[in-house]
């Protein structure tokens, strides 16, 4: 009985010892794995974050609106009521750039530019403007009066013509002491609507 018990105790001790050795080996391996595990957790977190950010951008509610070029022949007639001169206060991004006396832009694109002196009262015409789109269009007019007349308010008349028909006629004003820089918006209807209107609908 004593021997049996002795054998049993011996086996138990052996089992405990071997399990201790196994545990310490596992712990060592686990310690060696720690940095690898940290990197893995990082990747998981970063991946999740990147996924979240990309899905946020996709679902942000913005959509690209494609603008349709307006059909028809467009032209602009600009008549300054004052003499326009090259602007001595113009931003010149390159040393060879000449300052403008008058600039007209349609939807942000330059359609008319004069770098010389233009006498007041003379109409300036820009033909075949392709920058017009269906819907809302913005026109920007910038004109520089001579410095000795800068203290007066100045005016410019702008007309927009589509296929020979005037679709806008605006007078733009400047405050005394500044150059004339003004915008106005016009609606350009699709060609079909225009035709329907002509036929009484």
């Amino acid at each position: 009985m004593v021997e049996v018990l002795g054998e049993g105790v011996g086996e138990d001790l052996l089992t405990r010892r071997s399990s201790l050795i196994l545990t310490s080996l596992k712990a060592k391996r686990y310690q060696a794995m720690r940095p690898v595990l940290a990197v893995c957790v990082c990747f998981v977190l970063l991946g999740g974050l990147a996924l979240f950010m990309s899905s946020k951008h996709e679902g942000s509610g913005f959509r690209t609106v494609e603008s349709k070029p307006a059909v028809g022949g467009f032209s602009l007639e600009i008549t300054p009521s004052f003499t326009v001169e090259p602007d001595p206060f113009a931003l010149r991004t390159s040393s060879g750039e000449q300052p403008a006396a008058l600039i007209v832009k349609v939807n942000g694109r330059e359609v008319l530019r004069r770098e010389d002196r233009v006498e007041g009262g003379a109409p300036l015409v820009a033909q075949n403007i392709t920058e017009m789109i269906e819907g809302e269009n913005e026109l920007y007019v910038e004109a520089n009066p001579p410095l000795d007349q800068a203290n007066n308010a100045h005016a410019i008349r702008a007309k927009v013509v589509r296929d020979g028909e005037q679709i806008a006629d605006r007078t733009l004003w400047s405050e005394p002491g500044v150059k004339l820089a003004a915008t106005f918006r016009i609606q350009v209807r699709p060609q079909e609507e225009k035709r329907k209107d002509r036929h009484g609908r």
């Binding site: 957790v41 001595p88 206060f89 002491g177 500044v178």
Partner: protein
């Protein structure tokens, strides 16, 4: 395990910041602002108006200091060594070209802000010199602004749109300033527009706004050709004051007022006030900016001559 989580959390927090910095050049650039070292207070002000907080703008001359006679210090040389870009007036405003020498010794790029300006040529003692005080018209100030915009845009292309946008606003302000000056001076009849100052700094200003300019001291307070005070110049100034019935003479913030005070006593006229000339005003004063300086000068002149 807790340690592991802390490390992972730290790495995770750092990583998005780093990736964001790579995406945005502005954030990356802001980590180390470019240092722009200017010779005069006017150039420093123009530069600040254009670069905003995107660059660090430092000025070598203190408000009220005279650029003609300034002697650079070891501190200036240290500052220039750290600079990404140096800016000077040119046309020999910086006596003995001290700014060009500082930039050359430090091996730094130098921009001359008067490039493209049509200088007024002064003939003194048989010699011709270009007047360096060209910032005294807003129209010329616009040339300075354009030169600075081009230089900083080249230095920091990512900030180009920002510099150009600020410059557009500032150029509008310069235009409004020019227009306002013309309007204000309208109250002084042309025959009464005589500007007697300490030294010959107001030629551009006088030409632009219809003044006759007289000064006992030449274009520079230093020792250059055509500079300094001569007895002939002094007599000419007193004769002009009497001939044109000048009401007042003006001292300058950056020049010793003693001489002008003596001339005022000799000619029997009053001292009309102090004008900002080669340097702008102290921080907190009305003349601490270019526009403020010009505005205050105009008001001082009108107050004395109207």
């Amino acid at each position: 395990m807790a340690k592991l989580l802390v490390i992972a959390a730290c790495l995770a927090l750092m990583a998005p910041g780093a990736s964001h910095a790579q995406e945005s050049p502005r954030t990356d650039f802001m980590a180390r602002k470019p240092l722009l070292v200017c010779s005069t207070t006017q150039i420093a002000d123009f530069t600040r108006q254009i670069v905003g907080d995107r660059c660090d703008v430092r000025c070598i001359l203190a408000p009220g200091a005279d650029p003609h006679t300034y002697m650079p210090t070891p501190g200036d040389a240290q500052l220039t060594l750290k600079a990404d870009l140096c800016l000077q007036n040119g046309l020999h405003l910086e006596g003995k070209n001290w700014m060009a020498a500082l930039a050359r010794d430090a091996g730094k790029p130098l921009v001359t802000c008067t490039d493209g300006i049509k200088p007024i040529t002064l003939e003194q003692g048989g010699e011709k010199v270009n007047d360096p005080h060209s910032w005294f018209t807003p129209r010329n100030a616009a040339v300075y602004v354009n030169n600075i915009v081009r230089a900083v845009s080249e230095l920091d292309p990512a900030g180009k749109w920002e510099y150009e946008a600020r410059a557009r606003l500032y150029l509008q302000q310069l235009r409004a300033l020019d227009s306002w000056i013309r309007e204000q001076f309208n109250v002084i009849p042309p025959h009464k527009r005589i500007l007697v100052t300490s030294h010959d700094a107001f030629n551009y200003f006088a030409e632009e706004y219809g003044f006759k300019n007289r000064a006992p001291v030449g274009w520079s307070t230093g020792v250059e050709i055509g500079a300094g005070m001569t007895p002939e110049r002094r007599i000419q100034v007193i004769d002009s004051i009497r001939e044109f019935g000048v009401k007042a003479v003006f001292v300058e913030t950056s020049v010793n007022p003693k001489l002008v005070r003596e001339i005022a006593t000799d000619a029997g006229v009053k001292v009309g006030g102090k004008l900002y000339s080669d340097s702008m005003g102290e921080s907190g004063s009305a003349g601490e900016t270019y526009i403020g300086m010009m505005r205050e000068n105009v008001l001082t002149i009108i107050g004395a001559l109207r």
